[in-house]
């Protein structure tokens, strides 16, 4: 109501509204800023509470029971901390953690080295670098599951292209090695595919880092007649380091949770050599249906990612401040 007559109830807000010009009173009549803020933020928070936090709390609750999701009528018993105890003493779980550590360590090492090198080269700004950067990005846009599936085709013994190329260059017998079937090679097979897929991501973040270094620093180095080698070690690398560390953080979190690509490539095999943590979790939860036990494992994993990420971010901030 834009033309509100002076209120009989002598409320100061009404008085103020009546005294302000019509246009401003309209904006007062609209939602207040506080109301707008809550209407804008609340739906997201509610959705996250319903679909992320509520399930997580439920998982915590289940982790103290022997509940099995496939036996609806079985009695649910409270088992206290027994699930956690059993997980921390379970050799299979430790093997999964070792497989995960191997995967995370080598993928990060290779992706950082290759990704930084590529970024450094692209930063030379040769002709057509924008086009080739886009081409390099393509693997990281694909579905990890679909990638895992078609690399399984490339890794086929005998008929696979990967094996053919390796034998072409090394002269090894094509039937002498199986990337996915051999206990020694399978952990490297998943590292190769992940590196193929995610090096572009590390490259992009490193590139952003290199481009953030102001030109005048290099110019000052030129005045000081610093060699290229010195320039790289005392300017380029230290100044790009926070970006490299950030890329490592993102890839570390993602690869710690790795599921889809490895699931389709090896399914955790042969035996359980490539059974990374998420695959073990899936087996416990959706094949053996040990819901309580798997919930406890999920909580341990979540706390581990969260804790490690927090420690790492602290270190990162210290590097940034230098």
């Amino acid at each position: 109501m834009p033309n509100n007559p002076p209120s009989i109830l002598d409320r100061s807000a009404d008085k103020a509204a009546a005294l302000t010009p019509a246009r401003m009173s309209r904006s007062i009549k609209g939602l207040s800023d506080r109301a707008v803020a809550w209407w804008f933020i609340a739906p997201t928070i509610i959705l996250l509470l319903a679909i992320n936090i509520f399930p997580l709390i439920w998982a915590v609750k289940l982790s103290f029971t022997n509940y099995r999701a496939n036996r609806l009528n079985a009695e649910v018993k409270d088992v206290g901390l027994r699930n956690y105890e059993r997980i921390l003493t379970d050799p299979d779980i430790w093997q999964a953690m070792q497989a995960t550590a191997h995967f995370v360590f080598w993928t990060i090492l290779l992706q950082t080295l290759i990704g930084f090198a590529l970024a450094y080269l692209i930063d030379r700004k040769f002709r057509g670098h924008a086009f080739w950067t886009t081409v390099i990005l393509i693997p990281m846009m694909l579905s990890p599951a679909v990638v895992g599936n078609f690399w399984r085709f490339l890794y086929q013994p005998q008929i696979g292209l990967f094996n053919y190329i390796v034998t072409f260059f090394t002269g090894a017998e094509p039937s002498s090695f199986q990337m996915l079937g051999s206990v020694d090679l399978a952990p490297w097979a998943i590292v190769i595919v992940d590196t193929w897929m995610w090096t572009p991501y590390v490259m992009l973040i490193c590139l952003a880092g290199l481009r953030s270094i102001p030109d005048y620093i290099y110019e000052a180095a030129e005045v000081d007649r610093a060699s290229n080698w010195r320039r790289f070690w005392s300017i380029t690398l230290p100044m790009a380091l926070p970006f490299i560390m950030l890329a490592v953080l993102f890839r570390g979190i993602e690869n710690f949770k790795m599921f889809d690509m490895v699931m389709l490539l090896t399914g955790g095999g042969p035996g359980s050599t490539t059974e990374v943590a998420s695959i073990t979790l899936k087996r416990e939860a959706f094949e053996k249906w040990r819901t309580g036990y798997s919930s406890a494992f999920a909580i341990i994993l979540f706390v581990a990612v969260f804790g490690l990420a927090n420690i790492y971010v602290k270190a990162l901030n210290r590097v940034k401040q230098r």
Partner: protein, 316 residues
């Protein structure tokens, strides 16, 4: 670039440019081999696809694509010969293999599910994300930092870790294997990224614009709609691409929470089998069709995409 002097330190020398260009192009070509191989495998006949040595030159056929979209059954030679003239190219190819087409495969319905779920969740996540980002950017929200950290931290959870309770919850609510359930789930995953990216974009829009509009008589909502949103379109586009790519590619939740009616393409493609194992040309064809929209997106929207990826990194 700093000046035009030939000895500028910032401008790399011609030799170093050439070497850099050569190495980068070499890397790009090598990483394209697997993708190239999948695309050409889609046009091979099944025997060609598993020949040794691998065939680069072959007679292209649409058999893979035909097998991808149809289900077939083997018949006796007499039966096939007694049929009338073949209808269409797929019919002809199938009959050469002494088979007849008996119906459509599930690929197209799965692909449609992927479209509905990916676009549905992207629209919802970007909508909620824009509102929330604006709320955090412009108003004093109590505990704003804690809430933002909470929103971001939901992304660190391994999907499988929350899959068990979500599975139980969806079973109770009747949301398992429904498109709505998957849309809500992907929205929840994507909205954290959307808020994070969009807040940065909206922070960059000067407040003065809205304040001027509000002095001119716009309400807060009107000025959001008519002043802020048009300014934020680049950021919204970049965010939408990320949400879309995530939802389009997601596998873990899809394989655990859907089995039939709402199944998307990623869990379906690896299950395409022919006689005697995986039908690689059909799998390759399915992969190609699934991947093409992403390739087109990447190339058309590379500027927004690059901005989004590096932007996230620079801001933190």
């Amino acid at each position: 670039m700093s000046g035009n002097s030939a000895h500028s330190v910032v401008e790399p020398t011609t030799t170093s440019k050439t070497v850099a260009g050569f190495l980068v192009i070499l890397y790009a070509l090598i990483t394209m081999i697997p993708l190239f191989w999948i695309v050409i495998t889609g046009f091979k006949s099944p025997p060609d696809s598993i020949s040794y040595p691998p065939k680069v030159f072959f007679e292209p056929t649409l058999e893979g694509y035909c097998n991808l979209f149809t289900t077939r059954s083997r018949q006796t030679r007499e039966y096939v010969e007694a049929l009338g003239p073949p209808e269409g190219i797929c019919d002809e190819i199938t009959r050469k293999r002494q088979m007849v087409i008996v119906g459509d495969s599930n690929y197209w319905p799965r692909f449609q599910n992927s479209l509905i779920i990916a676009f549905g969740s992207t629209i919802l996540a970007v909508f909620l994300g824009t509102l929330t980002a604006y709320g955090f950017s412009r108003f004093k929200v109590p505990l704003a930092d804690d809430l933002l950290f909470f929103i971001l931290s939901t992304r660190m959870m391994p999907p499988i870790a929350v899959a068990v309770p979500i599975y139980l919850m969806y079973r109770k609510l009747g949301l398992s294997d429904t498109a709505l359930g998957m849309i809500l789930l992907y929205t929840a995953v994507n909205v954290s990224l959307a808020v994070w990216l969009l807040k940065g974009f909206i922070d960059e829009i000067p407040r003065e614009y809205e304040e001027a509009a509000m002095i001119d008589g716009y309400t807060r909502l009107q000025s959001f709609w008519k002043v802020v949103l048009p300014q934020a379109t680049t950021g919204i586009a970049a965010t939408a691409i990320f949400c879309l790519i995530f939802a389009w590619n997601e596998y873990a939740f899809a394989v655990l929470l859907t089995s039939g009616t709402a199944q998307t393409a990623p869990p379906f493609i690896p299950t395409i089998i022919g006689e005697g194992g995986l039908d690689w040309p059909a799998v390759a064809a399915g992969t190609t069709i699934f991947v093409v929209p992403i390739l087109v997106f990447t190339i058309l929207l590379r500027k927004q995409l690059l901005r989004g990826i590096t932007f996230g990194a620079v801001r933190k």
